[in-house]
């Protein structure tokens, strides 16, 4: 089997694992732009009967599975994807110990925006909305769920291990962060109003 351009592109797309731009492909294969486009067309034809496809994504080309195979792939990969990520773990920890609490309070402790992580945790049934805080902007309050207890092998929220030192440490840290941000001219408590 000869090393032809379409196959070279195939090997590159496979090994790269992320979208490759035309420019990168042209440079690596040392060919012309038109020849490269032709190669991609040929490759697409060859892949017509495959479970894989060449998709154009984010300004580049990438090898990906066809949607029909998503259930099978999901079954394989989901157990790995299923574990809570570290940001999710941190966020749910804060919520567990401080519930009910607002996004601003969580962000003040974590030091990073937590929109995505709160969304994931809600989708995964780890947290739920538990009313609104009666402060300006009436931000949403979050609390943990029964699924959360289940996931961490607890029967009730009282099973949460107690922090050795005084629980005030946590409150103190939050307060500090909030104060510091306020001093820097960043107001964080009012933002929830946009939701």
């Amino acid at each position: 089997m000869p090393v032809d351009l379409p196959r070279m592109v195939e090997a590159l797309l496979f090994a790269a694992g992320e979208p490759l731009t035309v420019k990168e492909l042209v440079r690596t294969t040392e060919t012309e732009v038109e020849a490269l486009h032709a190669a991609i067309r040929t490759l697409r034809e060859r892949y017509e009967h495959s479970a894989l496809q060449i998709v154009e994504i984010a300004g580049g080309f990438q090898l990906a599975t066809r949607p029909e195979y998503a259930p099978a792939v999901g079954k394989l990969l989901a157990p790995h994807a299923n574990r809570l990520s570290r940001p999710a773990l941190e966020t749910v920890t804060i919520i567990a110990y401080r519930q009910p609490c607002t996004q601003a309070e969580i962000e003040a402790i974590r030091g990073v925006a937590s929109d995505a992580v709160l969304k994931t945790l809600t989708e995964r049934d780890m947290i739920r909305e538990a009313g609104r805080k009666p402060t300006p902007g009436r931000p949403i309050l979050y609390a943990t769920t029964d699924a959360f207890l289940h996931y961490f092998g607890m029967a009730a929220i009282d099973d949460l291990p107690a922090l050795d030192e005084d629980d005030e440490m946590m409150a103190e840290a939050t307060e500090e962060a909030t104060t510091a941000l306020a001093a820097a001219g960043v107001r964080i408590d009012g933002e929830e109003s946009s939701r």
Binding site: A11, G111, H150, E176, A180, I188
Partner: protein, 281 residues
């Protein structure tokens, strides 16, 4: 391949490339075409000592094992010179295992070690080939998984203690203590993280540049994040890691990564003619 590889082995081999005394001895045996089952121990010993001296002269730090082997060789050599010990039980004193029956050849233990080591060396060489073949093949790392397939959380996948540990870790990171220092440090880290994100994305976008809108957080965003984004853009512009360009009024602002070796030059050009687009050709 040229057949004459035997030429003067003592001179052709670089001193100090031996892993250990056995490696050196095997080399001497092979290069000298010695019969390993009837080792000319005296010759071998002399050559070995010559090497050792050469290594010392070249100031190579010679591992202790080499000297232990030198002693062993000398001992074998001297025992070879002795007449066969008289047949008396218990008086053998050779330290070898040939206690009963016929006396063991003083070289036996050394030969056994050389043979064994030589075998593994041979196989290691064949593994070296496999290593080379394997390196011609590329695999792909695990695909991004979107999380579109939710599966119910498993019972007790993580323990409650994990929550406590997480909490303690976070508290340690925040550093409950002197308040001023704490908050300043934390803000700095966050800004640095944002900067790293901008640089990574801009670098990945390459010469095409990156639309600023892609850097902005999504709709219900935290104000803090936007503030940090602009702070990091300003900082990165200042140090020349990125340049930005806007081709038309109110058009898309694009961010370009500047490779390290082009940074100084760009700053100069920048002052002269405004906007420069990096071309990392």
């Amino acid at each position: 391949m040229p057949p004459a590889g035997v030429a003067s082995p003592l001179l052709t081999v670089q001193i100090g490339t031996f892993e250990g005394p056995l490696d050196l001895l095997l080399h001497l045996v092979r290069a000298g075409r010695m019969d390993i089952f009837d080792l000319p121990i005296s010759t071998l010993c002399d050559q070995y000592l010559t090497y050792l001296r050469a290594m010392e002269e070249m100031d190579l730090s010679v591992a202790g094992e080499f000297f232990v082997m030198a002693a062993t060789l000398l001992e074998i050599k001297s025992r070879m010179l002795l007449p066969a010990p008289p047949k008396e039980e218990g008086d053998d004193g050779s330290g070898g295992e040939g206690g009963d029956g016929e006396p063991e050849d003083p070289r036996a233990e050394l030969v056994r070690r050389l043979l064994e080591y030589g075998k593994y060396q041979g196989i290691a060489e064949s593994l070296r080939d496999r290593e080379g073949e394997r390196r011609q093949v590329f695999f792909r790392s695990r695909a991004e998984y979107s999380g579109a397939f939710r599966t119910p959380p498993r019972f007790g996948e993580l323990s409650a203690e994990e929550l406590l540990r997480t909490l303690e870790r976070m508290l340690a990171a925040v550093g409950a203590g002197e308040r001023a220092v704490t908050s300043v440090r934390r803000q700095k880290i966050t800004l640095r993280m944002k900067m790293r994100e901008v640089v990574t994305l801009a670098e990945r976008a390459g010469t095409e540049g990156l639309n600023l809108s892609r850097l902005l957080p999504e709709a219900p965003f935290a104000l803090l994040e936007v503030v940090l984004l602009f702070l990091s853009l300003l900082e990165l512009l200042k140090v020349g890691t990125i340049v930005v360009a806007q081709e038309e009024f109110c058009g898309e602002i694009r961010v370009f990564f500047v490779p390290e070796n082009e940074r100084a030059a760009l700053v100069d050009e920048n002052t002269e003619e405004g906007m420069v687009v990096a071309d990392a050709g």
